[in-house]
């Protein structure tokens, strides 16, 4: 603790942290401990650091992050459920020199929007796709997502997800890595500061690749949903670390080949 602060109130305080300038002053509506907040913040830090606020156009999904456009102080569009990557395609095709990203949950990207996901990447659309995998439908109250873990209890799998009945957790990042249009595919997480730093690096790389018009960059973020998982934030971080990452191992799935 800085003793001086107590001794002399007139000393200038050293600012060690401030929220990114590219975040608006609107308070997040996310539940305490929700991963969406962290990803929003890191993404906007990257926007500040790279100075791309004027060049970046985002697409928000239908899901808990539907209001991402209230928080991210860049031009944004809100897409229909599952269609964010099609909307991003429309934007990028008519504004090829701008930077475009889509931001989607697992219900949005990996269930209702699977066709758009695969074909956007197969065309190698020159955009960044951010995929928040929290293994559940947060917005609609905790139903099973295609990414829910085996045995996971949700409001539509009250006895636990059974592979025999409803299939296994879908590993979208692994699937789309096979597509030539995917330039960079990585799976990151937001359960500790080190992981968040890695996510930030992946975001920076993806923007650089987009500037070089390399193709689709896809960042999966293994995240948490304390409310949907019916856990405290601390419990949810533990579940993420012990269970989610077991099914969804972190790291790069596809890196640029030079």
């Amino acid at each position: 603790m800085n003793e001086k602060l107590y001794l002399d109130a007139e000393v200038e305080l050293e600012q060690v942290y401030s929220k990114p300038k590219s975040l608006t002053d609107v308070p997040f509506h996310y539940c305490p401990g929700c991963g969406h907040s962290v990803v929003h913040k890191v993404l906007m830090e990257v926007v500040d650091e790279l100075g791309i606020q004027e060049d970046l156009i985002g697409v928000a999904p239908v899901g808990c992050s539907v209001f991402a456009y209230h928080y991210m102080n860049v031009d944004m569009q809100e897409a229909a459920h599952g269609r964010a990557s099609a909307v991003a395609t429309g934007i990028k095709r008519v504004l090829p020199d701008k930077l475009v990203f889509s931001y989607q949950g697992d219900g949005d990207l990996a269930a209702i929007g699977t066709a758009e996901t695969i074909h956007t990447i197969n065309r190698g659309e020159n955009i960044l796709m951010i995929f928040i995998n929290n293994g559940i439908y947060g917005m609609t109250g905790g139903q099973m997502a295609p990414t829910s873990l085996i045995g996971q209890i949700t409001s539509t799998t009250p006895y636990g997800r059974s592979a025999a009945q409803i299939g296994n957790p879908i590993k979208i990042s692994d699937l789309i890595s096979l597509l030539p249009g995917a330039y960079y595919v990585t799976r990151q997480a937001v359960y500790n500061p080190n992981a968040v730093r890695k996510l930030k690096k992946a975001l920076i790389k993806s923007i650089e690749y987009q500037k070089q018009k390399k193709g689709t960059c896809f960042i999966e973020v293994v995240s948490n949903c304390p409310s949907g998982w019916k856990m405290t934030p601390v419990e949810s971080i533990k579940f993420l670390e012990e269970q989610m990452i077991h099914t969804y191992p972190l790291g790069d799935l596809k890196v640029p080949q030079n």
Binding site: T24, Q53, E54, D55, L56, I57, V59, A60, V66, F67, Y69, M72, N73, V74, D75, M76, Q77, E78, A79, A80, R83, A86, V87, A88, T89, G90, I91, R93, V94, L95, K98, A115, E116, I118, H119
Partner: protein, 366 residues
């Protein structure tokens, strides 16, 4: 291989191709679509022609589905582009969620429906059975498209320009409601002048936030009911203003005692019926709505003071006839004749119907 496209010369073209050529000349920034008969010539023409036009930067993209197409249209329109898609009935059904979002977010764009017979997978033959879907909203929520109904290859081309003029004036999606016959048939057409449609400023578009303005947001989400109601009231106000754009054509209505009401291909058939009837001394006229939304309620109401009865003619089970009946408020009988499933009435079928109504009315009066 650069082709020289002469401007003023009359050409013999298919309806779908005339529409596609008009779109190029209207300087569309982008077209997104998915093949379906009987409108695939639109995307085929564009993918073939656009690379030959060195002065054009038009994006032409074959999407993975109509769902993707319409959402690409949303994105591009939201980014300020002049953008369109085209499809036929089943594909237009798939687009409805997206069209509803576009109407709510007030994005200008053109959606072309080259209608085929339904319901279901139906037939690839021409039909007018998507009238309700086109004019009453189609997707969820209280909204309207502006709907233009061409009746010739010439109008297939001209209405592309008209559609974008209206779409951009009102920030509203516009539909061209055509049919498989108009899409496929060849006729003489004088194409609109290339580049003659000026661009409109779109300060609301997401083109990248500049320092002098707040971030632009394209959305259809208004979670507070008070706010959602305001948005709805605003839309309804806009639709009221749009009523002034009503367009229709009248053929021999001055002295008409019997009025035919028909749009698109049916109106062409009825035009012939008017001639046949007049040869027989029966004073028949025709009103052809050109805009199906807004609908010419007022003019039909006026004409109800003059005619004995109206006969509504459609290639469906009777859809527009409901609007005709609303117009005349029971003042005169409104009869209906139609065929479904891709079948087309002949001018003689319509004339026979007129004569049989006439006879039965005389029988009642006697």
């Amino acid at each position: 291989m650069e082709k020289e496209i002469k401007t003023e010369e009359a050409r013999l073209m298919k309806g779908n191709e005339a529409l596609a050529e008009a779109a190029i000349r209207a300087d569309i920034d982008a077209y997104f679509g998915y093949p379906i008969t009987p409108q695939s010539e639109v995307i085929e023409y564009l993918t073939r022609e656009v690379p030959n036009r060195k002065d054009k930067k038009t994006v032409v993209l074959q999407a993975e589905s109509e769902v993707a197409s319409i959402n690409m249209v949303y994105g591009a329109a939201g980014a300020g582009a002049r953008v369109m898609t085209s499809s036929s009935s089943p594909g237009i059904s798939l687009m409805q969620e997206g069209i509803s979002y576009i109407a709510a977010a007030e994005l200008p764009c053109l959606v072309v429906n080259v209608v085929r017979g339904g319901p279901g997978l139906g037939t690839i033959q021409p039909s007018q059975s998507d009238y309700f879907q086109a004019t009453k909203g189609g997707g969820h929520g209280d909204y309207h498209l502006i709907v233009l109904a061409p009746a010739s290859v010439q109008e297939m081309a001209d209405f592309v320009f008209e559609a974008f003029r209206l779409a951009e004036k009102y920030r509203n999606p516009v539909m061209i409601l055509s049919d498989g016959a108009l899409g496929q048939m060849m006729e003489k057409v004088i194409l609109p002048k290339d580049g003659s449609l000026s661009k409109t400023a779109k300060p609301w578009a997401t083109t990248g936030k500049t320092k002098d303005r707040d971030h632009n947001i394209i959305t259809s989400l208004f979670i507070q009911p008070e706010e959602m109601e305001k948005v709805n009231l605003h839309l309804q106000e806009k639709y009221k203003v749009i009523q002034s754009e009503v367009r229709y054509e009248e053929i021999q209505t001055e002295d008409a005692e019997i009025l035919l009401v028909a749009f698109g291909l049916s109106a062409r058939i009825c035009q012939k019926t008017v001639d046949l009837a007049r040869e027989k001394g029966i004073k028949v006229g025709l009103l052809r709505p050109i805009t199906l939304y807004p609908f010419p309620y007022e003019r039909l109401k006026e004409l109800s003071n003059q005619v004995e009865f109206m006969l509504d003619v459609e290639m469906n089970a009777g859809q527009m006839v409901e609007d005709v009946r609303l117009s005349v408020e029971g003042k005169v009988p409104v009869h209906f004749i139609g065929r479904m499933g891709g079948m087309i009435l002949s001018p003689e079928d319509v004339l026979n119907k007129i004569e049989s109504i006439h006879e039965s009315q005389n029988a009642v009066n006697a």
